[in-house]
Symmetry: C3
Subunit: 483 residues, 3 copies
């Protein structure tokens, strides 16, 4: 009767079924060591500096291209954006996932782990598909590769959002290994074979990552997850921590969508469009959030997430001439759709589709990413020589080489097809990875033990035990005893 | 005796007077939707990409100006500074206002909302006054316009600091609508008509925003605000959150003051001057804070705010040749003045002038901004050909066109006059807006209900109810005893 | 029984020895004012704008060097990196030290104070040693000087990590005054006399700063520090705050190591190398952390610190052609060594060497810094014309002037010697400063009063007294009334 709760849970676990083993003392170090050593070997074989980061080659490059100033090095065009993207990946995604009351360590910590692994694997996978030199068999990297590696990792971090609280770090490493691999393949198909444009990754990052996570979550459905319900919610300060993530994502999203667009007007325009779409989705997210609650009270979940939908939806079209008011319209619609998703669709998906989506990535990434893909298709199809100029049209859509004769209408069709490819890869790949994760060897938590840092972290004693507080209560008690 | 406190408050509210209606379920969504739709329409009519963000125009621009490299696009001169300013607006101002124990959601959340609205309105208002093309009737925007929009919003965010905890989000939208409008007008008068220089906005941003907020607060004076006294203070972790705001403001202030100064030496010098003034004001703020408390203990309010005074005060003079030690002196004095303000002037203003200034914007923005305006006037008046060179003098003070013959002494006089214009606009505009906000339709909280997120937010259950906290276990145990 | 704990502590303090006087109401303001005034005077005598931040000189410089575009101003090469470094110094170091349950104000606040002082003193000290113009007797500063000043301050902030919780702010000002002075001298010896390369400061910043702090801590050994044991640990949310520091350090370390490297390929390559080393050390830190705990649970201390070891260790070699897989190997090893240090070496040092190292700077800075110095020596010694090109070798190692004939092998030897100089300066300088700090005039806390913000800060009443908690107290009261 006086048994502590966790002992009761143990009993229940033993009674109703297999007690889950969450000991990862062998599996986690093994995965980290083996995979990191593999990275070192593969980097040794394949990865070299490119002509802008190699001292000898850069000197030769400057001579041969008649460049007089180091400022022409791509580093100066892209490094500020890269750093913003880097902040989004580690602080943005990481802190956005600290909102649960007792899962902040895992939210920010596992995000850190899998991103640090994933970006190495991404440099290799993307390198093999996009920048392998056929003569030397080497991949030559520079700052643009680092940005693309961060982008590639984002797909898996989005998937983590759906799984938050229900998987072990070893499972997350597996999710990332396959996520990065699938990403590199779908990206190759969409960008190279279909020749789509997708600088901010509405399709290749958000739609793919969103459906990848949802499919995994669908396979890993836990019918008894309500046993952990007490921990599936926020406390006051965890919601404030999550706002750090939200704001750094929101502020730096213009850098995300412009990081690898064309030098000059391309980066400039992508920033303006994203900035406007984001501003617009804040207002509509607030409006729908207020409408959906009694007395018009706002819900932190909506503010933390749906305000970002405009950035997701501009991932493809940001570099196009979508016009400033076009950007506002996209943000306007996606702020509404995303908030509606949190209010109605997430509960619906859980009840009828058996998809448990902790962070609501369906509403923030999957749907806005898909819409962003189609917005890009429409804007591409509507492009005209009048607006872009002939040279500008070629530059914006890379109508060169094999694609020199492609029309904008055809381009629009391929953009739409690319969106479908991304979704398909996410759904099929996620289902496969989900089945791999069902093997009972990964150390995932029991149904009554989810959303709890205690499982994988040494959690400090509670704040309650700080002396001043005990004293205060004692003091109160004594005072009343004295009376 | 067993009644929860909030029930007692309800009773008291009903007994002593009209119970305020804080239901914003109609008004907030209405304002957000209508104004956002208005933005879309106005952007559709007026806003276009400028020649550096439009693909066709940039190609033509490069041809016509004989530019060979995209690095000459203004984007690469200003984008890193823009991103820093953006962080100041959303994380800096937002987190600085999380210091109250139960108003962190509103501090960071409403700041997010009104900044996202205000920057759209600012692009229009500033566009009409500064960059409307008379031939086409269009406003052409680029990264510099985005920076200016962020600047313009800062004025209203400063005003929010004085009102924190006492107004509804609908009122804040009104404050921002009028704040941005007034800003654009005073900015036009000061920068265009009086031809003042004010790159970091000591006058147009800080003095204006500070007095604007104080005037509103004066009109909205609440004699019974002491009924909410229990919530008008910080807790340990809310003070740490506020330090995030302080530090991002402090670190990025050099970018703020240099974001729109002249390319090359102008941006370079503004950074150095601001960096030094800020460092200096940290030391004097700490000194005065320690002197003002028994046993020399420091007060977090001073560290969070007065350390920034040097940046505010360098807003005008940062781009001038004020010399490094001149910058240190400005920071030195303003750190002292600002901290004294927190210790003595804020209580004095509340008691004798009926101005309730939650964040002490009087000490951080109004007074240092005003001083910054006068410092700018003095430094301008003292400018000489010997120090600036003839070409440099023309470049720094834009002595061109109608102003080609203006002397530095005259310029100094106009700078001082500009400061007075900013203050006047703030005071008169703020008083008017204050009266508008007194209409009983805006959903503001009752006097005993201020500084409380509960009024406008779904606040999560308290940390006390997390399982490790014994009660939950007790509860489980009792349940089992009952069985 | 009813005595509050702090009264018992008072009694104990009086009984067992001298009660420490922690009143700093005179000493702290005096130090701040006098030193800040000294800075103003010295800046007035010595510091001027350089030719890239002075309006007159920049115009002349452009003419004389035939520069047509302001983008050639060093500002545009270095300012984005500078801002990242600035964030590391104030948010990175500051928040990393908020991990203690009741020392977050001091962690972030004193870091702020001493960095703001130190950077001014660093501009002077480094200026006298490195950029004093012999003709004019002036120091001319630009953005590179600001970066170097931030770097110089980092040495003292590292030392603060060892002392955290045990010293007064006045003592920290002394630590910084001498720390910056020693830094400037050792830097002059290492970079100028020995002609070492150390762009990211493995030697001059981390090894020096680490051993400087450890030596001070050794002199200030407190045998009765266990009396403050109750406060020497984290709580849940303080660990999350510390992750803000960790992540901003981790993300921006590529900027740190590349901030002052050569334009073009130099900055580009340093970023790639540091990015990879950091990613690698995350995986091995996680692996060792998991292995060292029962059930494989991760320890936040390791994640917060050891993940950064790769960045420290790449401080010297980042600008060399260490190759991408070389960077991964360095990060791999240092992640292991650093985590082992936290598990085994820190307790060992405290027990047998009487060194109390609060943040474990031995494992994060001293040892990885030293290793980084030797890695740099090896990579330098292995440099070849084949890899660097003749011109590249001269550029990378500055084999010019007096050093035009130096071989790479000799260079490697000098690099190793430089590391030893840095360690020696740290140990000897730290011991001397430690003895100065032992004078009983600095207001340091008693052994039973360490790690407590109450000593130097006005700490707000506890969260417990927020209204909802009144209910909780009512509950307690009723419970006792029932008895």
């Amino acid at each position: 009767i006086g048994l502590p709760l966790h002992q009761i849970q143990h009993c229940a676990g033993n009674f109703f079924g297999r007690q889950k083993n969450t000991n990862i003392r062998v599996s986690l170090p093994a995965v980290c060591f083996v995979w990191q050593i593999a990275m070192i070997i593969l980097f040794g074989v394949f990865i070299r500096y490119n002509e802008e980061s190699d001292v000898r080659k850069w000197i030769e490059f400057k001579h041969s291209h008649n460049i007089t100033s180091d400022i022409e090095n791509d580093f100066y065009f892209r490094y500020p954006s890269f750093q913003d993207v880097h902040v989004m990946i580690f602080v943005g995604f990481g802190f956005l996932m600290t909102f649960l009351k007792r899962y902040s360590f895992s939210g920010v910590g596992f995000n850190f782990l899998i991103a640090a692994f994933g970006l190495q694997w991404a440099l290799l996978m993307q390198g093999w598909f996009h920048s392998l030199d056929p003569n030397t068999g080497k991949i030559y990297i520079g700052v643009e590769n680092l940005i693309n590696a961060d982008f590639c990792v984002a797909g898996s971090l989005i998937a983590y959002g759906a799984l938050l609280g229900k998987v072990s770090p070893v499972q997350l490493m597996v999710v990332t290994l396959f996520g990065v691999t699938l990403f590199a393949v779908e990206e190759y198909i969409i960008l190279d074979l279909l020749h789509c444009r997708d600088a901010g990754g509405s399709m290749v990052i958000h739609a793919f990552g969103g459906y990848y996570g949802l499919a995994i979550s669908w396979v890993l459905y836990r019918p008894n997850l309500h046993q952990s319900k007490r921990l599936n919610g926020s406390v006051y300060h965890s919601d404030v921590f999550a706002m750090i993530g939200t704001l750094f994502l929101w502020m730096f999203w213009p850098s995300f969508n412009s990081a690898i667009t064309a030098h000059g007007d391309g980066q400039h325009r992508a920033v303006i469009n994203t900035y406007l779409a984001l501003a617009s989705s804040v207002l509509t997210a607030v409006a729908i959030s207020s409408m959906s609650q009694k007395r018009g009270k706002l819900d932190m979940v909506h503010i933390q997430n749906a305000t970002l939908a405009g950035g997701v939806a501009m991932g493809t079209a940001a570099e196009f001439m979508i016009t400033p008011y076009g950007s506002l319209i996209v943000g306007f619609c996606c702020g509404i759709i995303s908030t509606f998703g949190y209010v109605f669709v997430t509960p619906f998906l859980e009840k009828y589709f058996k998809i448990q989506d902790t962070c609501g990535i369906h509403n923030l990434h999957a749907v806005p990413g898909m819409l962003g893909g189609f917005v890009g298709a429409i804007v591409a199809a509507a492009a005209s020589v009048e607006v872009y100029g002939r040279e500008g049209l070629i530059e914006t859509f890379a109508f060169e080489g094999d694609f020199a004769t492609r029309s904008v209408l055809t381009q629009g069709g391929y953009q739409a097809a690319g969106t479908c490819v991304a979704i398909t890869f996410g759904l099929v790949g996620g289902a496969l990875v989900g089945f791999i994760l069902k093997f009972p060897i990964w150390g995932d938590p029991a149904d009554d033990n989810c959303y709890d840092d205690e499982v994988y972290w040494e959690v400090p004693e509670d704040e309650e035990t700080i002396p001043p507080v005990l004293e205060y209560n004692n003091h109160m008690i004594h005072k009343h005893q004295d009376m």
